[in-house]
Amino acid sequence: MSATLDPVAGAGSGAPAPTIASTGLTCPVPVATHAHVVLGHGSGGKLSARLFAERFWPRFGNPILGQQADAALLEVAAGTLAMSTDTFVVRPLEFPGGNIGDLAVNGTVNDLAMMGAEPRWLTCGFVLEEGLPLEVLDRVLEAMAAAARATGVTIVAGDTKVVERGKGDGIFINTTGIGMRRAGWAPAPDRIRPGDVVIASGPIGRHGTAILAARDDLGLVTTVTSDTAALWPLVDALHGACGDAVRALRDPTRGGVASTTNELAKSSGVGFRLDEASVPVPPDVTAACEMLGLDPMYVANEGVLVAVVAPEAAAAALAALRSHPLGAQAARIGAAIADHPGMVTMRTHVGGTRVVDMLPGDQLPRIC
């Protein structure tokens, strides 16, 4: 019987058990550098410390994170804090226009911004899958740091766990954000009144389309890129120009503009009437959605906001949005009305009317 590496195979058969010498193996030396995430990176030991010191700290470092205590201590002036949490899972991790990193920062800070709160602090929890290339992690962290810088938010605490290969999808990220609400301003759906104007800050449908196209199982080639971006600068500009006349804000992420306007209609008790011809949809999004049998109104956005503003402030709001590159294509897409409360209708391209309802689930591609 030949020597085998299986320790059980030789046992009980009378053959001598193989030794390390007989197999020609040498004593293993710990690998100093890794190209991939290994389980040890989540052990809390030296590998974890190195991961933090070499990859997280250089990008996220700041005095609060530098406290390295069990919790970050934040000094707060009087006022109202806004707090929001979101967990990010996306396939593929990297896509045209961004990656899971900037998505995880922008997603949470945008939720704060929609409440009229300036994003200040952020925590990040990472679940990494064993085998993730560290170069991918580097690019994700780089994007997170850039997004945090762009919106002025400080990363104050974090955590990393590693799960066995096959138990995760590369990277899952949870971010929790805290912001300071602007004094005297409380945008909320219950402030919407019939006659108010509905504005979209930019072209819709880009993020969801880019993600679908980036999944190679569809074999779809497009020029569409994700719109992932921090919206606070737009909110700041809107508030500066219109103040309290900005009644409500919402970022139309999952479910798109259709679902968002439905949520606003239901919680405000007014109806909305949209005008299909004035909804900004980029030509490449239109083309991809036509091919896939999807409706751009239901496709996710990550860098667009829907604002409902008092009618007398509409022109100032549009001008404020358009003064910022992110809002250059801002458009008035409809109005709040007293009719059909809680429901959204749309004047179609050809002049008919249809209901814009919530979807029961995901949009499914059509047969033909």
Partner: protein, 374 residues
């Protein structure tokens, strides 16, 4: 977008709608055959532009909607097997079977994959020689050539772990079934442009002559549909009943000869069950004996799985135009897109779903007005 916005021009649409209203001396009842056309009509609110001149009845041309319950149950049984990767077009995943749908099978660990083309399913079969890959071959004549191509290639390339669960139906027998029903209301047809792009329109000529109905081969964009309606209404006003072609940019009288050859090579006509309607003789396609080895029903002995449809679901009456979706007592209450009872509430092309998603405002308003009057 080039070749798209041209067919959605609001001014032209309004002008066509006006011409239809001016041409019609009474209200005519037309049926659009295809679910894609239903989708455009309701999504764009075209029926609203033509009130009083044209009533549209939504035909049975949604492949998802007419796939019988039994075939869904068979698909579910296949997808549940450990040795099977089940592949399907996306909107079949939510069609309810007797117990569950394919989405739920996937959630429970079944391997169900959405593909855009049956040839993608064939590629999956090549990549997974240790698995049986089954493609759910549903649809009208439109999807038949590509599905036939997948089976033909599987045989040519010797891909033995590939098979198809076939539920193909054809349009002309369904039109005849509707026209010969004693309570038929349909006075003219907008035939499905994409079906005719494959098959041409010679099969429709005897139907138009026999039942004295005008048939207009029609496209799917708003201007296509409005022009199709106008051509149909003009014939009804004149008292003629010919087959005419509105969709000239895609359809010829003789159709696509290579595609038809491929269909005939792989498939043969057979009786088919239509969900909500019942069995229509020689209304569907099945694999020819030469390709029987690729028949999933045979390979996995599925013939024993039978099912009957819930009696409350009036999908049959909706699909044959006897009932408007919102006239069904289950509409919007027991049957919604979240919990569909019948397939027309599932697919975005289904008449019930189209009414629910795009038209509920109007039906709610009509109901409120009617309620106020009593």
């Amino acid at each position: 977008m080039k070749f798209l916005s041209e067919y959605r021009d609001p001014a032209l649409a309004q002008a066509l709608a006006r011409r239809i209203r001016e041409t019609a001396t009474r209200q005519w009842t037309l049926m659009e055959v295809c679910g894609g056309q239903t989708h455009t009509i309701v999504r764009q609110g075209l029926d609203e532009l033509l009130a009083g001149a044209v009533e549209m009845i939504h035909g049975p041309g949604c492949p998802v909607c007419v796939t019988p319950l039994e075939q869904i149950d068979r698909a579910v049984a296949l997808a549940t097997r450990d040795d099977v990767i089940f592949t399907s077009f996306g909107d079949m995943l939510r069609v309810p079977g007797s117990d569950c749908d394919l989405q739920q099978v996937r959630a429970r660990g079944g391997q169900v994959r959405i593909v855009y083309s049956p040839l993608d399913a064939l590629t999956i079969a090549e990549r997974h020689p240790d698995k049986q890959v089954v493609f759910f071959a549903v649809g009208f004549e439109t999807t038949a050539p590509a599905n036939a191509m997948a089976v033909w290639q599987a045989r040519m390339r010797g891909i033995r772990n590939f098979s198809v669960l076939v539920s193909h139906v054809t349009v002309p027998p369904a039109m005849e079934a509707i026209l010969s029903a004693p309570d038929n209301r349909v006075q003219g047809f907008l035939a499905a442009g994409h079906v005719c792009a494959v098959m041409g329109w010679t099969e429709y000529e005897p139907i138009a002559a026999r039942y004295r109905v005008p048939i207009v081969v029609t496209g799917f964009e708003p201007l296509d549909l409005l022009e199709g309606m106008l051509l149909c209404v003009e014939q009804l006003e004149r008292g003629t009943h010919e087959v005419v072609n509105q969709y000239a940019r895609a359809v010829t009288r003789e159709g696509n000869a290579p595609a038809m050859r491929l269909i005939r090579e792989v498939f043969e006509l057979k009786d088919r069950q239509w969900r909500g309607i019942g069995t229509i003789p020689m209304s569907g396609l099945g694999l020819r004996p030469a390709y029987a080895e690729f028949d999933a029903e045979r390979r996995f002995a599925l013939e024993d799985i039978v099912a009957s449809e819930p009696v409350e679901c009036r999908a049959g009456a909706v699909l044959t135009g006897q009932l408007k979706p919102h006239q069904c007592p289950m509409f919007g209450t027991a049957c919604t897109p979240e919990r569909p009872m019948g397939a027309p509430m599932v697919s975005s092309e289904g008449a019930c779903a189209a009414y629910y998603n795009y038209g509920r405002f109007r039906t709610a308003r009509a109901a409120a007005t009617a309620g106020a009057g009593t």
